[in-house]
């Protein structure tokens, strides 16, 4: 499988919604 690693996740807020069955990304969500 392709693997989306943690270097690429920097400056993104990454949201895991296990109950909702979805993953979210918020660019610049960390500032």
């Amino acid at each position: 499988a392709a693997i989306f690693g943690n270097v690429q996740q920097q400056t993104l807020e990454v949201v895991y919604d296990g109950a909702g069955g979805r993953v979210g990304f918020a660019p610049n969500g960390c500032s």
Partner: protein
């Protein structure tokens, strides 16, 4: 044209890629001010409890070597190859179906365990499920860790789990190995692809995330026999999708929702927040896809990549055949070979004014930026199923070894099906 170029590229101050190690730690405001939020520190950074405020220069080649070991073990787990070496250890045989290798464990959080509370630094890992830490008396062996090793006999809220219990039988999906018995206590074993493992008692204990986030009876592994490439770190916080993972065990409170920001430089902390408090309004979602033989992983469907505003000509089956997953414990993104080749050539074409230089480890597209103050790089964005288009920050595109060797932070898998 100039306007177009600006929208589609990042201009980076090169000094920002190499923060001075002495710079003091800057705390994440979200971690400081949000309910159920923990600070995330970079293992080698000034903020880490383990470096006493002094940044340690990480050995990048070692980081990338361990990263490859992790990726190999994830791939072997997904391709159902089971390495049949059995790890002999006094307390139990651990049939060695590798979990996912610990890797280089860049990001850690501090969690309180037991009564009275004993703070421990754990790697947070969305690519594995079982939370474990080393435990006294280290019946077999414990690797060296910075904080005192947790001693269950000094905690009034610690309980071993019986081997006839339901959690014990759910160990096989969480670790790849069935639980076994030692004097009717449940024993877990998890082996990592790179000759490291943790074996010990499956136990229940009080976990304290913050003063208002306290959970009694969390199942975790109390490791009496641990051999790790992971010196310094007390263990791992498993954030995968299995029922033994921390989000599953705290689902009543947090509904299996958590979010994080990784510190983009070792002088900052990030946050790991449980529950839906303070999730950015700009979040764009994509459905989790289930990976066969990898139900614990958070699968994603990548549908395209753009570089400098131009969509790469990659057929969608290049991504859909192998599938994709997101993992906080893997450092460098691995792409299918054809996708990586397209990304690399588009990136190189837009970086033609900078001199190329030799590769480092798994990163084969590197530039010598000595003498430059700024570098202009093309923006990179990922499109996921459901319409989410995610533009990577400039920190998410380059891996800086030194001024004369700054590399594109992606690598290709060796095989189209991986």
């Amino acid at each position: 044209v100039q306007g177009r170029r600006e929208i589609d590229s990042h201009i980076i101050q090169l000094s920002s890629l190499f923060p001075s190690p002495s710079s003091s730690c800057v705390l994440s405001t979200k971690a400081s001010n949000t309910k159920s939020s923990l600070h995330v520190t970079h293992r080698h950074g000034t903020c880490s409890r383990l470096t006493n405020g002094k940044a340690t220069t990480p050995d990048h080649v070692e980081i990338l070597r361990l990263d490859q070991a992790r990726v190999n073990s994830i791939h072997s787990k997904l391709s159902k190859k089971v390495n049949d070496r059995v790890r002999q250890s006094q307390s139990t045989n651990v049939p060695a179906k590798s979990g996912s290798t610990l890797g280089s464990g860049n990001y850690i959080v501090t969690v309180g365990i037991g009564t009275p509370k004993h703070d421990l630094s754990l790697i947070f890992d969305t690519g594995s499920d079982l939370t474990w830490t080393q435990c006294e008396p280290c019946v077999q062996t414990c690797y060296s860790q910075k904080e005192p090793i947790f001693n269950p006999s000094s905690s009034s809220s610690y309980y071993n789990v019986s081997c006839s219990s339901a959690p014990c039988s759910s160990l096989s999906s969480a670790t790849g190995n069935a639980g076994s018995c030692s004097a009717s206590n449940c024993v877990y074993g998890i082996q990592y692809g790179d000759q490291s493992f943790s074996v010990g008692y499956l136990a229940k204990e009080k976990f304290t995330l913050t003063s208002s986030d306290v959970f009694n009876g969390v199942y975790f592994g109390c490791g009496e026999n641990n051999q790790g490439l992971f010196t310094g770190i007390a263990g791992l916080l498993g954030l995968g999708r299995d029922k033994l993972s921390f989000p599953s065990q705290t689902a009543k409170t947090y509904n299996k929702i958590f979010s994080y920001c990784l510190p983009s430089s070792s002088r900052y902390t990030g946050h790991l927040t449980f529950g839906s408090a303070a999730i950015s309004s700009s979040v764009k979602f994509t459905p989790i896809s289930t990976i066969t033989d990898g139900t614990s992983f958070y699968g994603l469907d990548i549908v395209g990549i753009t570089v400098g505003g131009r969509k790469l000509a990659i057929s969608s089956t290049v991504f859909s055949t192998p599938g994709a997953l997101i993992d906080s414990g893997t450092v460098i993104t691995r792409l299918p070979p054809k996708a990586y080749a397209a990304l690399r050539s588009a990136f190189k074409a837009q970086m033609s004014k900078y001199p190329s230089t030799s590769a480092v480890s798994i990163l084969d597209t590197c530039f010598n930026l000595s003498g430059y103050k700024t570098v202009t790089i093309p923006k990179v964005a990922f499109s996921f199923s459901g319409g989410a288009v995610v533009e990577l920050g400039s920190k998410g595109i380059l891996y800086p070894f030194k001024m004369s060797q700054v590399c594109l932070a992606f690598a290709g898998n060796s095989d189209d099906n991986n």
